[in-house]
């Protein structure tokens, strides 16, 4: 029994399709349990490093606080005025109502300005996954639904990449295979006895320090060894 446990594989290798599927499943789970939209669920998960249990814990402990911190408003903070034409708060031009968009807060800006705002943020890096309403005093989250409507195809593609990468990189249980050019990720059962992982790309590495597999030597010794090897003085000694 005890031996069987040792031989059981304590990790799973994931390709892009697997990663995507898992991410979707997690989003579905949160969205169903909390009865919120999938976009909101995605924002929540991203905020809590894709830990479904953490999202559940925090949400049921204090929903109001979570909503505030993450920027998921239940109702708009401002009502979009009933006028036929509105002034955009960024370019100060006047547009008809149907050309204005707002996040859950109700702060309306024209489509061109939204596109510029989103594009600047996406080209700034993965921080775009936590995009907020442009109004300085407003913390309302801007989710993928708005990105899909307002961003260019290029930017949408980048956003989706960042979202996928975030699922692996921000999650405590997953890591990318460190081999150069390898696109597989590893889902590891945290707390298992052996750190050895063998990726589908044939690279074997240590989960803990992501250096080449080094059992039975411990990670600290390996780090020292690598440092020693890289130090120029050792070559001189030779």
């Amino acid at each position: 029994m005890c031996w069987a446990f040792l031989f059981q594989q304590n990790y799973t290798i994931l390709n892009e399709a697997n990663i995507h599927q898992r991410q979707e499943e997690d989003i579905t789970r949160v969205s169903t349990v909390l009865s919120i939209t999938r976009v909101s669920a995605s924002i929540l998960l991203r905020h809590y490093n894709w830990s479904v249990s953490k999202v559940h814990d925090e949400w049921f402990a204090d929903e109001e606080k979570v909503r505030k911190v993450v920027g998921l408003l239940e109702k708009p903070v401002v009502q979009i005025p009933n006028a036929r034409e509105l002034t955009c708060g960024i370019c100060f031009e006047t547009y008809s109502r149907d050309r204005m968009n707002a996040a859950s807060c109700g702060h309306a800006f024209c489509s061109a300005c939204w596109t510029g705002y989103i594009s600047t943020s996406i080209n700034d890096g993965p921080g775009c996954l936590m995009l907020r309403c442009p109004d300085p005093s407003c913390g309302a989250a801007v989710g993928q639904d708005m990105i899909n409507v307002l961003a260019s195809d290029d930017d949408k593609e980048k956003y989706t990449r960042y979202l996928l990468r975030s699922y692996i990189e921000d999650n405590r249980k997953t890591k990318w295979c460190p081999a150069p050019g390898c696109d597989y990720a590893v889902d590891f059962v945290v707390g298992s006895a052996s750190y050895d992982v063998s990726c589908h790309c044939t690279y074997s590495f240590c989960w803990n320090c992501t250096e080449e597999a080094h059992r039975p030597v411990d990670c600290g010794t390996v780090a020292q060894w690598i440092l020693k090897n890289s130090a120029e003085s050792e070559n001189m000694n030779w």
Binding site: I90, F92, H107, F109, G116, S119, P136
Partner: protein, 227 residues
């Protein structure tokens, strides 16, 4: 890329109520990418009575990227470099929002003058310099002009320690700088100062001498050249 229509609107909107806000923005060049703003020193602070000039450069991505602002007028302030006028303010960096404007940014600078933020995280190298440098002994503003150059070697945000430790000295120095650099007549004097500087006189001496002789260039020159 820059939204010129918006910049034009901003300028006319800002200059419309210049009598109320005291904040003025004028273009430096004809393409609206390089502007300069002026703010009055807030009343009840060591900056009262001064007029502070700020250089504004609009990046390509404006208004989605923050404008680059820098004080042209020398200011003694924990969050502003005494050397080159660089500003430590969050809304000019990561807290910028396209819904803010040049005017609101200048208003924030004015607010920063009234309420310095000495606890703001600052340049580590400079901070170290502060700790190591003998320059930092608190100084009476009257002695200040003697070591102007010594002082100006240490840059930015450095003055936070002084602000925290010795507020009277800080306020005295800030007032002295406002008197010397930010009073309207001293701005008009800039050309004369430049001329005398080119002749090789030290800046602090040029400014004090000009002041003593009532801004008369010839008299100042006579005074500067003994014999």
């Amino acid at each position: 890329m820059v939204d010129f229509a918006r910049v034009q609107k901003e300028l006319s909107e800002c200059n419309r109520d210049v009598t109320i806000s005291g904040i003025r923005i004028v273009p430096q060049s004809d393409n609206l990418l390089h502007l300069s703003g002026t703010i009055p020193g807030p009343i009840g602070t060591p900056y009262e009575g001064g007029t502070f000039k700020i250089d504004i450069i609009l990046p390509d991505g404006y208004p989605f990227e923050p404008p680059k602002m820098q004080f042209i007028t020398k200011v003694w302030h924990p969050n502003i470099s005494s050397q080159n006028g660089a500003i430590c303010l969050d809304i000019l960096k990561d807290q910028w929002s396209p819904a803010l404007t040049l005017k609101t940014a200048l208003l924030s600078l004015q607010a920063l003058l009234s309420a310095p933020e000495p606890d703001d995280p600052q340049d580590a190298v400079v901070a170290q310099q502060v700790l190591l440098s003998p320059v930092l002994t608190p100084m009476h503003p009257l002695d200040f002009h003697l070591s102007f150059f010594q002082y100006s070697l240490v840059s930015i945000c450095v003055w936070a320690p002084q602000y925290l430790r010795d507020y009277p000295t800080f306020a005295g120095t800030a007032r002295y700088w406002t008197e010397t650099f930010a009073k309207t007549n001293s701005i008009g004097n800039e050309e004369k100062v430049q001329k005398l500087l080119e002749m090789g006189f030290p800046e602090d001496l040029v400014r004090t001498t000009l002041k003593e002789v009532g801004d008369d260039e010839t008299m100042a020159l006579e005074k500067l050249c003994p014999g």
